[in-house]
Subunit: 273 residues, 3 copies
C-alpha cells in the first residue's frame, strides 16, 4: 500500500544526507522537511563518512559535480553501504558530458544503490555506457509514450535485473521497476518541466521514502513518484491567472507538506506490470 | 529599546559579508535586504579579506564548510577583527562531525566574535568541546523547556562570560545572553522548524543588527531574535489552508520586509533575567 | 522589433550554459525556464568545454568566483567562442575586490563576449581598470539620472566601440548600447533592488535572448532588459499589503513566465539614441 509508505516517512522522520547540486539544494531541503524527513547537506571529503553514519540514508545527485565532490560521493556511498543505509543516485545530465557519464558509471560500479531516479535519457546512458542527453532534460527521441511503454517497462526491468537496483525513469509517464514488477505511473503535469528541480526534489524525497520503508524499496520509490506527480497535479489546480513557474514551484512543495496518506491512496494513478 | 535596534538597521543599511552555506544562501541574502541591510557573499581565500574590509560586519556560517572555505573563514574573521567589525558565528551542525566541531572551536579560538547564534546542541558542543547534534537540528534531549530554562540561562551566561561573546541559543524558547543579562524570548512558532534556513537567516540578520548597533550587542541580537520570531508568528497567521512550508518561508521574509519598529516593540515577548 | 526577440526565445527554446554564483543560481534557472529557454549549470574544468559545446550560448557570472571556477570560466568562454556561441559576462562586484576586477578584465581580454550586463559601477570598473563598487550594488555616485544620462550613453557607446561588445548598464535608467546606437530604457521599479538576483536573472535571460537572435545582439539584450523591467512593474502591481521582497521575487519570475510578445511590445518604454 503506497499510503503506508508515506505514513512511515511521517512517523520515522528520517535524517537524509544529501550530496547534491547547488542549483536546487534549497528546494531539496524544503521538500524533505515537507514530506516529514530532515535534511543534512554535506559534501566535504573530511566529513561525509561521519555525516552519513548519523543519517538513515544518502541521496547522491551529480547535478553540479566537481573534482572535490566526486570523491566525497564515492566515500559517502561506500560508508552508507557499510552502515546498511539505502543510497539513491540521481545521475543528472549523464550523457551530457563524459565526466557525468563516467562519474555515474563509476558510482554504479563502486556503490550499491537502492534506487536510481532519472529521466529516461539519463537511465539509458547508464545502461548503455553512453548517451544523448540534451543538457539536463530528456532527449525528445527518448520520451515514453503509450507506443513505447512496453519497451520502456521491459528495459527498466532488465536494467533493474542487471544491477539489482530499483530503477525510476520519470517523464510524461513514469516507470518504477525492480527485476520483476514495474509501476507505470500516470500522475504529474507537463508544466512540472518548467520548474528547475522537480527531478532533484523527487530524488531527495525518494531517499526519505526508502529509509522509512526498508523492506519495500520498489513500493517506497513508487509512492514517492506518485506523491510528487499528484502534488504536481494539485499544485497546478491552485495556479491563478498570473501565476507562473515560480509560484508553481512553491505550490508543489506546499502540497507535499499538506499531503495526507489518504490523498495519496485516492490520487495515485498507476498500474503494476 | 529593541525598536531602536531595528530602526538603526534601516537607517544605516549596513553591508554584511557572508561566508555561508549554499543551501540557504539565497534566503540569507533576501532577508538581509528585507531588514534593510545589503548582502555580499564571497568565500574565496584570494578576496575575502578585501571584501570584508569594505563591509560593516561578517557572518560566518559553517553549514556546508569545506577545506577551501575554512581557511577563508579564518582569514576573513581575523581581518574583520583587525577592522573592528563585528563577526557572528553560526556553528551549523557542530557536534554532527569532528570537522564541524573542530572548525567551530578553531574559529572561536582564533577569531574574536561579537555573537554566536545556534541551537542549544550546537552551543553546548562549543562549550563542551563535543556534542550530540542530530544532524543540523537540536538534539531532543537538549530542548529548552520551562523546567530547564533556569539551567539554560545560567549556562548561556557562563559561556558568555568565558568567551566574552553574546550567546544566542534559539529553539522553542530563545535565550540571548551576555555575561550579566539574558533575554528569554518567547516569540516564534513551532512550524518554523519545518523550513530550512530560519536559523541561517536569523544569523545573517543578527549580523546586520550588530553592525548597526555597535554599542549594544546584546540588545541588537535580542532584537533580531524577537523580530525573526515575531515574523514567524505573523507569517503563520497568513497561512491559508493549502499553504505549507514553502509559502511559510516566503511569508516570513515578507514579514521581515514589512516589519515596522512599532510592530517589534509591541510584539516582542521577552523578559530579562 | 523587440517582440520578435521574445518570440524567438519561445520558438527556439535555447539551451544556455551558466557558470554562475550559488546565491541566485536557482532563480537564474527558473527565469530561463520562464522565458522559454533551458538552463544547464556546470562549472568543473573537466566538463565545461563539453557542456558548452552542446549548448547555444554561455552566461558567465562572477558573483561567487573562486580559484576553481575562474579557469572554468576562461576555458568555457574560449570553447564557446570556438563554437560561435554568444557569451555574456556579468561582472558581479567588479571593483569590490582585486580578484573580481582582475578576473573580469582577464575574461574580457581572453574571451570574445557578445554582451556585458552589469550595474554602472561594475561597467565603469571594466572600462577604467579599477572601481569603487559598493559590494555588489552600484556606488550611489554612479547612479544614472536625467542629468548624467547623456554622459552615460556616450560612455556606453565608447566602451562598446572599444570592445566590440554590447554594453548593458542597468539601474534606475538602463542603457544598452553598441558602437552606434543606445537603447535608453525606463522600465522597472525601485523595489527590484530589494531582491537579490534581479541582475543575475537578467543576465541569464539576456544570454537566452542573444542565442535566439544571433543577428541582432543589441535588440536582443534591449528586449531582455525591457522584459525584466516590465515584469518588475507588473509584479509590483500584484503586491498585496503583506507582500515583501520574497513575494516580489516570485511574482517577477511568474510575470516573465506569463509575458506575451504583445505585452512586451506595448509595455516597453525606451528611446533609441
Amino acid at each position: 500500500m503506497l499510503k503506508t509508505m508515506l505514513e512511515n516517512v511521517r512517523k520515522k522522520a528520517p535524517l537524509v544526507h544529501n550530496i547534491t547540486n547547488y542549483v536546487t539544494v534549497n528546494d531539496c531541503a524544503n521538500i524533505l522537511l515537507a514530506c516529514g524527513a530532515s535534511p543534512i547537506m554535506s559534501d566535504d571529503i573530511d566529513e561525509v563518512e561521519e555525516i552519513t553514519s548519523i543519517c538513515g540514508g544518502l541521496n547522491i545527485n551529480i547535478g553540479t559535480l566537481n573534482r572535490h565532490t566526486i570523491p566525497s560521493m564515492l566515500a559517502a556511498g561506500k560508508k552508507a553501504n557499510a552502515c546498511g543505509h539505502p543510497v539513491l543516485l540521481d545521475p543528472v545530465g549523464a550523457g551530457a558530458s563524459r565526466l557525468r557519464t563516467d562519474t555515474a558509471l563509476r558510482l554504479l560500479n563502486e556503490v550499491k544503490f537502492a534506487a536510481i531516479r532519472g529521466n529516461i535519457s539519463e537511465i539509458k546512458t547508464l545502461a548503455l555506457g553512453e548517451g544523448t542527453t540534451k543538457g539536463v532534460d530528456a532527449d525528445v527521441a527518448d520520451t515514453v509514450t503509450d507506443d513505447t511503454l512496453d519497451h520502456a517497462v521491459s528495459f527498466a526491468k532488465k536494467f533493474a535485473q542487471k544491477t539489482g537496483v530499483v530503477i525510476a525513469m520519470t517523464g510524461a509517464v513514469d516507470v518504477v521497476a525492480d527485476r520483476e514488477r514495474a509501476y507505470v505511473i500516470r500522475n504529474g503535469h507537463p508544466m512540472m518541466s518548467k520548474i528547475t528541480g522537480t527531478g532533484c526534489m523527487l530524488s531527495a524525497m525518494s531517499a526519505a521514502y526508502l529509509v522509512s520503508n526498508p523492506s519495500s524499496p520498489l513500493e517506497a520509490v513508487a509512492a514517492a513518484v506518485c506523491a510528487m506527480g499528484l502534488c504536481g497535479e494539485r499544485g497546478f489546480k491552485r495556479l491563478g491567472k498570473k501565476d507562473g513557474n515560480a509560484s508553481y514551484r512553491q505550490y508543489i512543495i506546499d502540497e507535499i507538506y499538506c499531503l495526507r496518506a489518504d490523498d495519496l491512496a485516492n490520487g495515485a494513478k498507476y498500474e503494476v506490470r
